[in-house]
């Protein structure tokens, strides 16, 4: 601990927690204050994540933060390496834009939106930073608890019944998580990820089955979050039922599961871990491919755009999981690029769907405003929406249409946007391996097919929603809604323009993931504060 810079590792967790706690002290009616506070926090989180990205990219090893100044395997550690920093930045950008969008009107459709939203960001950040699997469970619970609140935000029959399923499934998944953690602890006697990596290599052959069972149960818990095929039927419905800004930020939640799988598979089941190495990779590969097929069929059969977005989330999860399963440095780097690009694009899609559909389907609009379930809870919180915030801009259809086409190109992976670069890099990495496995060919085929399916459905929806002449006046669109969508799409544009440097960073990330020894050494040798004096 040499100075305040080291504390940047923990501020992504502390900052939203404090802001969220502070938020509870204010009355629901002080809306402006809450908005300013939460937007400022989210903006600070972006700055913080960018600083961490720069620091982690600059230094040779990851930044390690010892909580309570306990030495590594005994206390809980937070670790910010390239991968975590990148995920943090992605989460905070999506979080900020979704929050900005919510200010247009969604934060008024229920109480304590901002506090819950910041707690969700805290849970996501914590899950990306922690280096301890039980602590990971705690952060998962924080983000899940906040997400339960957010999915119910706005209330209504559809949301309540979708969230009943969502909560039940996630509680069951959390129980599996605990079982997996307990099994890993019973075999290795440690919960620290770096320490686990060291001990897994020297596991007795007799304990190996138990260890793999534990890891597999743990993996199922993450795969449920990531939306893998037989366990993902809840996802499109839940995401479609959620309020648009909530759905946008949920786009990052499936990526939390994938991040953890990537982290654990590289750290604990990397090539260095002896008998247990790469034990689940094949399963991940085939499950990922199955998820892609399910997602593609879902995209083609979906009747609403929100469902399309949900199935697209599944397709991208499937692609990422299959890539994790196949492994290889170049493929993982390309897969990370795809992760960033697809998360931003899906986030933008969820945000743009609602204004696009506003004309077509008046019922959606009404569903956004809550019917109170508990009268006392909503007193003073809900007011009739009379004042439209921000400037109403002309040419709504042009802007929406442009944004929609931009989104469609990104999602389908057509040139020249970042979606294309991501898919191209993945296919390139797959073809460059000396001997392409049959599964690799299947993956290439499915990547191209998913792009085609997305294009078909987006064209159909675009013609239907934007071009078909209707008698109703063009929908009103406030500036507050346009800015976040524009921001997300601009980031994608930036990814395209600076694809070279981004790719270089991701290649270093991927090579660091393939040398877990550095991560382990950084954690186990982390100096305690005051020890040098």
């Amino acid at each position: 601990m040499t100075g305040w810079i080291d504390h940047l590792v923990i501020t992504p967790i502390i900052l939203p927690l404090m802001a969220s706690a502070l938020m509870l002290a204010f009355d629901e009616r002080r809306r402006v204050l809450k908005r300013v506070l939460s937007l400022a926090t989210a903006a600070l989180l972006i700055a913080n994540a960018a600083a961490l990205l720069w620091l982690a990219g600059d230094r040779s090893g990851p930044l390690v933060y010892l909580l309570g100044n306990w030495a590594a395997p005994f206390g809980i550690v937070l670790v910010a390496d390239r991968l975590s920093a990148m995920m943090l930045l992605l989460a905070s950008v999506v979080g900020f834009t979704a929050l900005f969008y919510a200010v247009a009107r969604w934060d008024r459709s229920g109480p304590r939106f901002h506090a819950l939203f910041l707690l969700l960001l805290m849970g996501i950040n914590g899950a990306f930073l922690t280096g301890d699997i039980f602590n990971l469970f705690v952060f998962f619970e924080v983000l899940l608890a906040a997400s339960y609140g957010l999915i119910l935000h706005g209330s209504g029959t559809e949301r309540t019944s979708a969230s009943l399923h969502y909560i039940t499934i996630n509680i069951a998944a959390s129980l599996l998580f605990l079982l997996g953690v307990a099994l890993l602890y019973a075999v290795t006697g440690t919960l620290n990820m770096a320490d686990l990596a060291l001990r897994v290599a020297s596991t007795d052959a007799s304990d190996l089955a138990l260890l793999e069972a534990g890891a597999a149960i743990l993996g199922i818990a993450f795969l449920i979050k990531a939306g893998i095929w037989p366990l993902s039927f809840w996802l499109p419905r839940t995401y479609a039922a959620a309020a648009p800004p909530v759905a946008a930020v949920f786009a990052i939640m499936t990526k939390v599961g994938i991040y953890v799988l990537l982290r654990l598979s590289s750290l604990i089941f990397g090539d260095a871990s002896g008998e247990a190495a790469r034990f689940a990779n094949e399963a991940l590969l085939y499950a990922g491919l199955a998820t892609m097929i399910f997602g593609i069929v879902g995209i083609l059969s979906a009747r609403q755009l929100t469902r399309v977005a949900g199935y697209y989330v599944l397709v991208s999860s499937g692609t990422l999981l299959a890539a994790v399963g196949l492994g290889g440095e170049a493929l993982i780097a390309a897969m990370l690029f795809y992760l960033v690009s697809s998360t931003l694009a899906v986030g933008a899609l969820y945000l743009i769907i609602e204004p696009v559909e506003r004309n077509a389907d008046e019922e959606d609009m009404i569903a956004g405003i809550a019917e109170p379930v508990f009268d006392d809870e909503y007193v003073g919180a809900i007011e009739e929406v009379t004042d439209e915030e921000g400037v109403i801009i002309p040419g709504t259809i042009a802007i929406l249409g442009g944004g929609f086409i931009f989104c469609a190109l990104l999602l389908a992976g057509l040139p020249p946007l970042s979606g294309f670069i991501a898919k191209f890099a993945m296919i390139d990495a797959l073809l460059k391996t000396s001997e392409v496995e049959p599964a690799g060919w299947v993956l290439i085929g499915l990547i191209i097919l998913s792009g085609l399916a997305t294009m078909i459905i987006m064209t159909r929806a675009g013609i239907d929603l934007l071009w078909r002449p209707g008698e109703d006046a063009p929908s009103r669109l406030s500036l507050v809604e346009v800015v976040p969508i524009g921001l997300l799409l601009t980031v994608c544009l930036g990814l395209m323009l600076w694809a070279g440097p981004v790719m270089a960073y991701l290649e270093k990330t991927s090579s660091a993931l393939h040398q877990p020894a550095h991560y382990v050494a950084a954690v186990t040798d982390a100096p305690q504060a005051g020890s040098e004096r």
């Binding site: 039980f134 705690v138 619970e141 899940l144 608890a145 339960y148 119910l152 209330s155 209504g156 029959t157 309540t160 019944s161 969230s163 009943l164 399923h165 909560i167 039940t168 509680i171 069951a172 959390s174 129980l175 605990l178 079982l179 953690v181 307990a182 099994l183 602890y185 019973a186 919960l191 379930v373």
Partner: protein, 115 residues
Amino acid sequence: MEIVLALAIGILTASGLWLIFRPRTFQVILGLSLLSYAVNLFILAAGRLRSDAPPIVGRDPASADPAFYADPLPQALVLTAIVISFATTALLLVVLLASRGLTGTDHVDGEDGET
């Protein structure tokens, strides 16, 4: 003692699983609670079963031999898990009531198959 604990975990898990596959929301919640008890016992067992062994090391340096003590970590984990599952169960109960109020049925899908 192992067999008693194993039986307890097994019975709790079996009952819990049966209940979460039932169509009524209240049964599902009870099932989840039973499952969480089973998981908590399981975590405790992960730290090896010991009786008459305290989890906290005393100040006396002569008694600092770890062989005399039970593993405190799983106990701490169980505490955390209990708190979290208690809170989520409470939340789920509220959602159950809201769903019952909005859909008029306690079926998990919000509609009865027969009607």
